[in-house]
Subunit: 227 residues, 2 copies
């Protein structure tokens, strides 16, 4: 088999945490495709496949290389049209971009505010240096000072899922009766938080938590197997 | 023709403002269907069609009555399958519920915070009494005291559109290359703000404003014709 997913790892290879890599993992399982996962620390990404990319996930499928999780999902949909659809048609393909917009602008900053130091601490020493330098350039301050009130960030998190919770009154998944790539977009962000901090910090009776648990159950519990 | 859309009006029938009615108006135009619009003040809604509903939009299509804007869109999609699709397939139908969740939980509260008194002031005196009583019961305080800092509410509004703005990097409409019902969901909320207050309060160079202007241009400018 020459289907390889290059994805991100910290010091412990049993606990992959990247939200974008989780989207690609779930998309490959959704299509029922076998693949070998090759885990890379941040600073080794430019060393594989002739340095084609600085970001993972990177998919090699026979002779094709595709990076970026959304592009990977689009590639899989086009290349394996007879496997279960990741988008449910052209409208779903377009609206998955809106779900991505929500996840990137609403969930990702909220996860970062909670988990920034946890993520840093999961990395190899050499990756910690890279992570600190690149993130501090974006944040304009030391990592430790960026989000000083972690408890407040956790308390603020549940509100970010209100759009999802409202939708869950109508259906069990963003994809409707069953999950689509749009579910994996938001799942990836919450799995990132769960693996990095040990919890998604949602109340026990939260319908959004029930949805996340349903996603953890998918594909023989591939998400749940990482803790 | 016996296709009638019952929708909401204030004192001035030339300025319909209801976000949910705008969704239905745009959906009917999208399907290329002719219809007669019958405008009702809040307190007259229970007097039509034998008191079948307390909410508008209400669509009568020959012998069928459908209320709730999303149900109307689903009905139109099923009944007129050969007219342009409102959802672009089953995935789009499901994800439109997520866009609805975003609009209801993120945009609607933000519009209410800006426009509550403007909406009140657009109503007939008898509807003002109904509106005040029902809204004050929800808010737990006098209308005038619910959102005392209107300028702060306006300043906070632009951030609510970040998911849309992120998506607009990939495509011109939530529906992709052209609009779908999901666009009309968010459009309805912004049109409500525009008609009630005279502006959507977005910066002139905002891609989200460009998107809204594209929606105002649709169907011979039906949205733009109301000011």
């Amino acid at each position: 088999m020459s289907r390889i997913l290059y994805s991100l790892t910290g010091e412990d290879e049993s606990r992959p945490f990247s939200p974008h890599c989780w989207k690609a993992v779930m998309a490959l399982h959704h299509k029922g495709l076998e693949f070998e996962e090759k885990l890379l620390p941040f600073t080794e990404i430019p060393t594989v496949e002739g340095g084609v990319t600085k970001i993972v996930p990177l998919l090699r499928d026979e002779d094709t290389l595709v990076s970026d999780s959304f592009q990977i999902a689009l590639y899989l949909e086009e290349t394996y049209p007879f496997a279960p659809s990741l988008f449910g048609g052209e409208g779903g393909k377009a609206m998955a971009r809106f779900v991505e917009g929500y996840s990137q602008t609403t969930i990702h900053p909220a996860v970062t505010a909670i988990a920034l130091m946890d993520i840093h601490n999961m990395l190899d020493p050499v990756d910690q240096v890279y992570f600190r330098k690149s993130r501090e350039a974006l944040l304009g301050k030391p990592l430790e000072e960026a989000f000083p009130d972690r408890d407040a960030s956790i308390a603020a998190f549940t509100d970010k899922l209100r759009p999802l919770r409202h939708m869950l009154r109508s259906q069990p998944f963003i994809g409707g009766a069953s999950p689509l790539f749009a579910d994996y977009i938001v799942f990836g962000a919450l799995q990132w938080l769960r693996v990095a901090t040990g919890s998604v910090h949602l109340p026990a009776d939260d319908p959004a938590l029930d949805w996340f648990e349903r996603c953890l159950d998918l594909f023989h519990g591939v998400g749940r197997s990482v803790g």
